[in-house]
Subunit: 196 residues, 2 copies
């Protein structure tokens, strides 16, 4: 991206992460280190040359660290640096602002269950009411997800569990609504995440 050439924190931040696709690449890496092919899968619609270019730029900016494979055969891993991890609050704030836009169902939009994990954490971990201790198994989209609430904090990770208190199945928009109703009923209403 061309620099805005403004002595302003916002402009300088956007000089680094304001390019198209950049924050979505970071969304993917916030879930953990990823390989090139995994990133491609998590970023449906991106051109492969663009992903390569963004990764190069992010590495140059000190946000992503490329881990070349160890002697045995393997493929390079991309992970966030500490500076990159510090973008989590930024992404969470954008997720919160974007939550009402999720009322409109997925339609033909692409969807990865994993994306719900970060969203849930962003939405619930700042709501006024503490979520109940509960384990929820999600079954929607491309892969299962486990959402665990305990001690007022929520954490999501892909996979399955045999200890789910609730299992939610259905289209992603319905899942999101039900989950928010379960974990943060008051916040769900405030976020506009109720059924129309």
């Amino acid at each position: 991206m061309r620099s805005y050439r403004q002595y302003c924190g916002l402009a300088r931040a956007l000089d680094v992460v304001g390019d198209r696709w950049t924050l979505l690449v970071i969304r993917e890496l916030l879930e953990g280190p990823r390989r090139y092919a995994e990133l491609l899968d998590g970023l449906p619609g991106i051109a492969t040359n663009l992903l390569a270019e963004r990764l190069r730029e992010l590495e140059a900016a000190g946000i992503v660290q490329r881990e070349d494979p160890a002697p045995p055969v393997a493929t390079a891993l991309y992970r966030l640096t500490e500076r990159g991890e510090q973008l989590r609050p930024v992404v969470h704030e954008l997720l919160r602002w974007g939550a009402p836009l999720m009322i409109e169902p997925a339609g033909t939009d692409e969807f990865r269950t994993r994306w719900l994990g970060e969203a849930i954490e962003a939405l619930v971990n700042r709501s006024e009411t503490e979520p109940p201790d509960v384990v929820v198994q999600l079954d929607t989209g491309d892969e299962p997800l486990v959402v665990e609430a305990s001690g007022g904090r929520v954490h999501a990770h892909t996979g399955t569990t045999t200890e789910a208190d609730v299992v939610l199945q259905g289209p992603p928009d319905a899942i999101l609504g039900k989950l928010m109703g379960l974990l943060a009923p008051a916040s769900a209403g405030a976020q506009g995440l109720t059924r129309r």
Copy 2:
């Protein structure tokens, strides 16, 4: 902007505010309603057709409200809607992340003193230590700015005051460092806002 076509809060948020210049337009409007010409002045480098296009898009997205002039002569005002105001935490989070990038002096970058106001509020109003009650008069850049800290909160507004406890003069990067040292010494270090 082309939509990312992803059922994800971040992607949908960026569909709305991810375009080049969009968040900078919002930065300007966060300080209060503005006229077209004022926006142009606060967004050095933007092409006038782009500003017009962004304002149209933001109005269509329900983020900006265009206020047509009252019967007497006047010129249209642009102001944020409530939904637009809700972007303040997003901008603040980006400002916080971008703060370390302000160590690099302005150089040939454009600068408006007004930009410091929102940055100071973003940085100090979330630091661990409460700022002392103090009124600071800034004299740098294009116009004077008054920063008032009281009861642990900081507010900045353009203009002058006769009741300043401190007057800071100099280049913007030095001003920012001094101000942070004054209002939130611990945070200034953490943000990397100390002199190299």
